[in-house]
């Protein structure tokens, strides 16, 4: 989703929430997730999952959330990170799973080969592991000040908000 689309989506979420409602955003941090092969007690990093877009969209998400806060639609309450870990018995199971759920995911053939060689080197007690760092943010919906409604739908700079498309105008007024 382009950055403008993300801001627009956040505006729509604002209008769908009860006054003072809570928005929870969950998205990857944008750090390439490492791939490890575990052989008994030993974990060997064989490379990283990559994306065609090189994780740019996740940084755009951060920017869109910051803009929504700057626009006064939300107040950030908390942000934290957690590791979302995926375990698979074989590399091909992992690859199939990621391909189904992560559209522009890339695992280089060299990484595939190295991981496969390592997995073949042990009879049992082995698996492949991907560890993604995920950001979770809690944002509280902010009320639209009555004065802003009365003054004719100003934008962040006090001028009319040219991004307003006429729909749900009463809930997407931007003030600072």
């Amino acid at each position: 989703m382009p950055a403008e689309g993300m801001v627009h989506a956040l505006k729509q979420i604002h209008s769908l929430l009860q006054p003072g409602g809570l928005l929870i955003d969950i998205h990857p941090s944008g750090e390439p997730p490492p791939i490890h092969v575990r052989l008994a007690e030993q974990q060997i990093c064989v490379g990283w999952v990559n994306e065609e877009s090189e994780f740019v969209s996740y940084f755009q998400t951060d920017t869109a959330l910051a803009e929504a806060v700057k626009n006064g639609w939300f107040r950030q309450e908390q942000q934290t990170r957690f590791a979302f870990v995926t375990f698979a018995d074989t590399l091909y199971e992992l690859h199939d799973h990621l391909a189904q759920n992560w559209e522009d995911m890339i695992i280089d053939q060299q990484i595939m080969t190295q991981a496969d060689d390592l997995l073949r080197s042990a009879e049992a007690d082995k698996e492949v592991i991907v560890r993604e760092w995920i950001k979770m943010t809690a944002l509280r919906q902010q009320p639209i000040p009555t004065a802003a409604i009365d003054s004719g739908n100003p934008g962040t700079d006090g001028k009319p908000d040219s991004r307003v498309d006429g729909k749900n105008e009463d809930t997407i007024i931007v003030v600072e």
Binding site: M6, Q12, L16, L17, I26, T61, D89, M136
Partner: protein, 100 residues
Amino acid sequence: MAVRLDPEDSEMNTLYRLAGDLSGKMVLEVGCGDGRLTWGYGHKPALVHALDPKTEKIAAAKRTLPPQWYGRVKFFATSLEEFAAAANQRYDVAILSWSL
């Protein structure tokens, strides 16, 4: 397929830590996919509306929806744009699930 996702429930634990108790709440989940996250918290809210534009993912979610959740948890194959245009209610909590 022997793939295990987040076996320590880090995502769900973090969700509860940030969102608090979802019991009795009206929840909107955007980008629910096949319901992977929904299954983790769906037993608590009074109402869950989960949407995703991918029809095959929503079809999979509907197939695995527990019968005791019928009527309380609903999946919609639609975009946020279309859903917002037709929505006639507001929610206590919105979850953007890896979807922005």
